[in-house]
Amino acid sequence: MLELKNINFSRDGKKILDNVNLKLDLKKFYVVTGPNGSGKSTLAKIIMGILKPDSGVIIFNGENITDKSINERAKMGIGYAFQTPALFKGITVYDLLVLAANKKLTKVETCDYLSKVGLCANEYLNREISNNLSGGELKRIEIASVLAKKNILRIFDEPEAGIDLWSFHNLAQVFKTLTKEEGITLIISHQERILNMADEIILINKGKIKKIGQKDEVMSDIFKGNLLKGVKICDRNR
């Protein structure tokens, strides 16, 4: 369904993605995990078209989308919930959901999207998407905007960040149900609960896919210490 072939991405002489190959299938729930700075968000942005790879090919739904723009990909059914949601002035939660759904929404529909992320529509629909909302609220609205859009591939970048555990449990269920029904879910996460739900876990380190597999195999890799081997916290001689 989605295939990345030999994706490379460097900046400032540093390889951020190093020959990444990946295939995602329909109705599967994928979790990407790995240390901070390993290239997870970069990978997501390359799939969404926010970043262009230096080399490599992206195939989605049988079509080569490597040169397609962000909005073309969005229209084909790729959605991305940003790790850090954008702030606006004068744009309300309702406005954003309508833009995402690309049609007028009834109260019931908006309420449905917001309750999935644990927010009450009455309190939030007319709020501006700005710093007046808390970090967790912004994050939930960002997720709701991806749920409101018709997507085949949904990417969530650390959706748990800033969201309390109790609410996140419900959210995780929403993701799971959604995937069973349709499309592909790709979640970037460090949360064990999310890792447990994955059909496949993709482990990234230093821009390379280290392992793709079931939780147990991947986790053992992480805990065996293979992953962090050779990582220097601080090199005093530089």
Partner: protein
Amino acid sequence: MTEIDKNLLKEISEEEAKNASAYNIRKNGKCLDRKVSDYINIVPKEDGKGIDVYVKENTLFGIVHIPVIITESGLTDIVYNDFHIGKNANVIIFAGCGVHNDGNKEARHDGIHRFYLAENAKVKYAEKHYGEGNNGKKVLNPVTEIIMQKSSRMDMTSLQLKGVDDTNRITKATLYEGATLIVNEKILTNNTQKAKTTFEVELKGDNSSTKVTSRSVATENSYQEFISKVVGKTKCYGHVSCDAIIKDEGMIKAVPEIFAKDTDANLIHEAAIGKIAGEQLLKLMTLGLSEAEAEKVIIDGFLR
């Protein structure tokens, strides 16, 4: 009234203005229609160059609508409108000017509005400025002078989104004890339009306060200037913020001035000018909007 007149009126009038209990419609320097009520009187000045609006003391609620339209190329219309708002009165005043200029000469309207708010009076004042037509310049220079007595309050909104080639807007206010002035200004310029706004607020009375918020967008080759001077002479509060987006070759200059003449004066100024934030564009594009569509949504929201 011609179709052009009707359209101009529509462009500059809020929906609520339809319910006006008193109105005065001015076209090309002459009164087109007028209505008064028991509480709100409108009296033309003797030289024909304006009106006096009297709102009686203790008027519980009233809506006043005083639009101006200009359709004559080469006309310069200067008008003095004075608003005398009685003690404890509460009114909404809609003003605005629409210019349709298809000729080659400049069409200009200078509206000088003076507000006298008696003790405890409350005014919501909204003005809209709009221009259309092809050749001749459309120039609007609104001046607003406000004298606010004890505990009075005024909420002013000023909107100019389209078609005005040149504007020099001046708002001056003097606030006495406990008076509150809230101003919201929104301006969008394009082409080679120029817009200059000046706010001068003098906080004279104890516990007087003002909040001036300007949001503006300058696109293409347009130029805007925002000047604000707030003087605090006593225990008072003043907050001025100018938030602006520039696009293409647009330019905006913000000149803030706050002058505290008393240790209890609390004055704040904020100004930020910049292009549309990249992450806002990206977010909307991931929802399927093109870059141009995303920009429009962001600017429309910003100026809402």
